[in-house]
Symmetry: C2
Subunit: 338 residues, 2 copies
DNA sequence: CTGTTAGCGCTTTCAT
DNA sequence: ATGAAAGCGCTAACAG
């Protein structure tokens, strides 16, 4: 039969409430009592019943990971980190896709939270950039952590200096002698697209290269949009010798087009991406890109969220490190186009 | 304030229990009453409290998706299907990675089920092939659905005729004139590796090609293992003109090696994979592979599971269709190796 | 076919 | 610092 709190209380010679206090880390318990109860609970292999706990406590011990159509690899990494943190803190996790383009999406999230009594949310891009959503959550006092949000002072979650990473990438290309460096922007709804574009601009400026609008085309983070952009760029009268795509999928699209046109990479064209997804190692040549520690980011965001759930005054915005992955798709700009 | 069952009962002029009956689709309610209660519940926007329901009902209205280190894309597709089915049936889903290589993994699953009172499990490969787990779940009468299990009569879930798909792939290669067709096997723990290999054998037999053991090498479904296998095969005195890898990641590894060696695909070497993951469209040339409807499979498996939870006598093993995706990595065996 | 009475296992008051 | 009693919102068992 299932071990109940009552059994633990009896075995430890205290009341149910005291056991409950120990379980919930409430401070007002004598240390000796706490230790004894913990020992008994462990020896009986007691685990509180989640339903009973949440019914009585008016909370679910559940957080939800919300996402809208992200890359599978990225999301899986984030998810793995979230799961790790949840396990450690004895919290449960549910995953929920939400279509942020739908008019009623804020309401959808609201009722999701209400119906399941969710204790907190982990938001991933581009949900992190919906002011309407964030405002409403603040209003409702629903704790949430953002992964890579566009600026928002005082929020909790994790960020990465994507702008600086992009700048560094451009500096790398410039140092190889490239002066015609193109950029394929990411989906307009993502804050990341802004940052990466700004980093591109900063990199050019720092290298003393003028910004040429014809070298910047809009993509939407998909492989196909990368291909389209590549065609547009390579059809230019004075085409670029290097292309910085705002993510790996688009960079893969560029490389595919380049191969199709018989261009050598990196001899004729250098290509680089962002995210360090598995495809960056699986294409030929391997792709120079920016690594972000998505799994750690998921874990850290969740840890901060859980802290904020316990104490709304806590919860930080943590800064995570990025790392350039220099592989074989980038090189000196030396070959002459025929 | 939250609407409770009591409020619905009062508004409909019936007892709480009658409302409960309507909600749970119990048959013993007069049609007129049922309709009235449903109307009132909807107008009040009533949604039962999951915690209270599960505490009183001794069940969680939760299913868990269990996995062990699968490809991110595959899992995300399955997960999406599971979420769809859960939404439709008003069930919740939790995801749980479990390391099936650990000695205590069956116990881990057991306590997971017990502690969260999970109503059912969705198993993905290779968990579907752990006899120990399946036996224990049967013993405990815990409903579960398998996605692509190795044979098990009477089980519930979804399957795909992977053997036949592999055979068809080999037939395709043979019809293009290939006679030296190699196979890179998948991870030994996966039933899929067996099937695909058997399909390979059948395909050769049907084409009247002798099975050459030196053309079959062991991989483990990873990109790197595909590269290693490719090196081994291409170093042979009489190398293959076509390689059938047991999944796309390994096929991508093969293509990378081929490019590195200056081989033309498909001129010098035809390559094909299995699974139709995004990478198959993102590499150059695009990869010929086998598509499996992973999302539908996840949904269907969940639907069957949910049926089985309601009525243990129901729940089927559904057969799903596959489809060959013929792209640009395969072609006639015509070029002469230099 | 419908209602009444007890809980499910825990946390909250409010005492002490 | 600890305990007793009263629910949380729902379903189970038994009546009628």
């Amino acid at each position: 039969m299932r071990v109940r709190i009552e059994d633990v209380a009896a075995a430890a010679g205290v009341s149910m409430k005291t056991v409950s206090r120990v379980l919930n880390n409430e401070p007002t318990v004598k240390e000796a009592t706490r230790l004894r109860v913990q020992a008994v609970a462990k020896s009986l292999n007691y685990r509180p019943d989640p339903s009973a706990r949440s019914l009585a406590g008016r909370r679910s011990y559940l957080v939800a990971l919300l996402y809208d159509n992200p890359s599978a690899n990225y999301l899986m990494e984030i998810l793995t980190g979230v799961v790790e943190a949840c396990e450690q803190y004895h919290y449960g996790m549910v995953v929920q896709p939400v279509a942020y383009t739908r008019a009623d999406f804020v309401q959808t999230v609201e009722s999701l939270v209400a119906l399941s009594r969710l204790d907190g949310l982990i938001l991933t891009p581009p949900l992190t950039d919906s002011i309407a959503l964030l405002d409403r959550l603040d209003e409702l006092r629903i704790p949430y952590a953002c992964v890579s949000p566009k600026v928002r002072e005082g929020g909790i979650g994790v960020t990465l200096d994507e702008q600086e990473a992009a700048r560094e990438m451009i500096s790398l290309l410039a140092s190889m002698g490239h002066t015609r460096i193109a950029h394929i922007r990411g989906h307009a709804a993502h804050g990341a697209s802004e940052w990466r574009h700004e980093g591109y601009c900063n990199g050019l400026r720092q290298a003393g290269i003028d910004y040429d609008p014809s070298l910047v085309v809009q993509g939407e983070f998909s492989f196909d949009s990368g291909m389209q952009a590549a065609h547009a760029l390579l059809d230019l009268d004075d085409p670029p010798t290097a292309i910085f795509a705002a993510n790996d999928d688009m960079a893969a699209g560029v490389m595919s087009v380049a191969h199709g046109r018989g261009l050598d990479i990196p001899g004729d064209l250098s290509v680089c991406g962002f995210d360090d997804t598995p495809v960056s190692r699986q294409i030929f040549p391997t792709l120079t890109t920016v690594h972000q520690p998505a799994r750690d980011m998921g874990r850290q965001a969740t840890v901060e969220l859980l802290k904020a759930i316990q104490d709304p005054a806590s919860g930080q915005m943590t800064h995570m490190p990025y790392a350039l992955q220099i592989r074989h798709s980038t090189g000196p700009a030396h070959r002459q186009r025929t």
